[in-house]
């Protein structure tokens, strides 16, 4: 603490008002700008949700899968992803902590575990994206650009059920609007659930599709998705993609740092501050995920 100021004399440098190194300070400034970028993304996501409150997809109807388990398990998989990222944050703090104590072997151990956590998260996200892109219910796009779903009376069903094919047999399906209308005519217990979640009768459904239907949407891409409003898919790809790219670059940087630790670069330098700086970035990635988790999957 050297905060003595002599008045009448210009500051000649040498003091550190923030008691932090240049590198650490710059990492913090970068993280502020990055936080503002993510706020802009999540804010625009909020804009669309406030613009389309009734026809926005319900998250627990979209993210319902868990690897190797059948049936609906809303939230479980993202909860696991959150746990993986929190865990890798903990191993990162431990690595930073042992860095302060100059214990090279323990830094290597905890840094390696952090990298493993990062890869596990990336793998989970790839699986999640795969499922999101493939979809499993199918839907029909309309002239007003709202997405309607196939239902069996007042229960959600799927285009695959209506067309009597297996949606997960690995083949590429394609249906036209007329295929769906013909099937609806032969199967009176199937009907349409509209975008604001009300159910039409079978005859109303056929009439609605003849007048409004444009194409059958299976899965999701940047143009449209089977879950609901177009912006939902675009926000999903953009925000989780941007976050995933942060995780990916974080893992790359962690690997570079780990190599340096093993080579003894920081041992020779006399401090492990580089581990601390990368740690800041890694925690920030965890921080962003906490918000993505809340606003994409919970709210």
């Amino acid at each position: 603490m050297s905060e003595k100021v002599t008045y009448g004399q210009a500051w000649k440098g040498g003091d550190k008002p923030f008691a932090a190194s240049y590198g650490k300070l710059m990492m913090w400034f970068f993280l502020i700008t990055d936080a503002l970028t993510f706020s802009a993304f999540l804010g625009s996501y909020g804009f669309y949700r406030f613009k389309y409150p009734d026809i926005w997809p319900v998250p627990e109807e979209v993210f319902t899968h868990f690897p190797f388990l059948h049936g609906d398990h809303p939230l479980l998989f993202v909860a696991l992803m959150t746990f993986i990222l929190i865990m890798s944050s903990v191993t990162m703090v431990l690595a930073v902590n042992y860095g302060h104590k100059m214990q090279k072997k323990k830094v290597i151990l905890w840094l390696s575990l952090t990298i493993v956590g990062g890869f596990m998260f990336l793998g989970s996200q790839a699986w999640e994206w795969g499922h999101f892109i493939h979809g499993d219910k199918g839907a029909i796009d309309t002239k007003t650009e709202s997405i309607v779903h196939i239902a069996e009376r007042d229960k959600m069903s799927s285009v695959y059920n209506l067309m009597e094919v297996d949606g997960h047999d690995g083949s590429h399906h394609h249906f036209t609007i007329n295929n769906v209308i013909n099937k609806l005519e032969t199967k009176p217990n199937f009907n349409i659930r509209t975008a604001n979640k009300s159910y039409l009768s079978n005859s109303e459904s056929i009439k609605f599709l003849q007048e409004e239907g444009t194409e059958v949407v299976l899965g999701a891409n940047l143009k449209h998705n089977e879950y609901g409003v177009q912006n939902f898919g675009q926000c999903f790809f953009f925000i989780t993609g941007f976050h995933g790219f942060h995780v990916f670059s974080g893992v790359i940087i962690l690997i570079v740092i780990l190599i340096n630790v093993i080579k003894g670069t920081y041992e020779r330098r006399g401090h492990y501050e580089m581990v601390e700086k990368v740690g800041l970035y890694w925690h920030f990635v965890d921080l962003v995920w906490v918000f993505v988790f809340t606003f994409f999957y919970l709210v």
């Binding site: 932090a20 300070l25 503002l36 613009k51 903990v90 431990l94 906490v290 919970l298």
Partner: protein, 108 residues
């Protein structure tokens, strides 16, 4: 603070448990969705959503102040980093969400 960096690791595991418990509470609330929290509207959204947002901010605070060590940095550094986002982000969100509601009203 010297005691948190040189001594034991207990505080790391303490924060870990807090983050884990808060996340578990969020997930459990998200799955069971208690009726009275869903049906009560407050400030334009469900009461449950307010609970989620508060819990999220609690988690964010623990990550920033403890894991990122900002709580133990010098006061000037701490506020230099915290004040700009704390002003700009709520401001941006206020504008975007208000505009979202306005865009909805234009469609009818």
């Amino acid at each position: 603070m010297a005691d948190t960096t040189t001594n034991s690791n207990w505080w790391i595991w303490k924060v870990f448990w807090i983050l884990l418990i808060v996340t578990t509470v969020e997930v459990v609330l998200g799955i069971i969705k208690p009726g009275f929290l869903i049906n009560t509207q407050f400030l334009g959204t469900k009461l449950l959503n307010h609970i989620f947002i508060v819990l999220t901010i609690v988690k964010a605070a623990y990550i920033v102040l403890s894991f990122m060590h900002l709580g133990h940095e010098r006061k000037s550094l701490k506020w230099t980093i915290l004040i700009p986002p704390l002003i700009l982000i709520p401001y941006l969100l206020f504008i975007l969400l208000t505009e979202g509601g306005y865009a909805l009203s234009l469609m009818h």
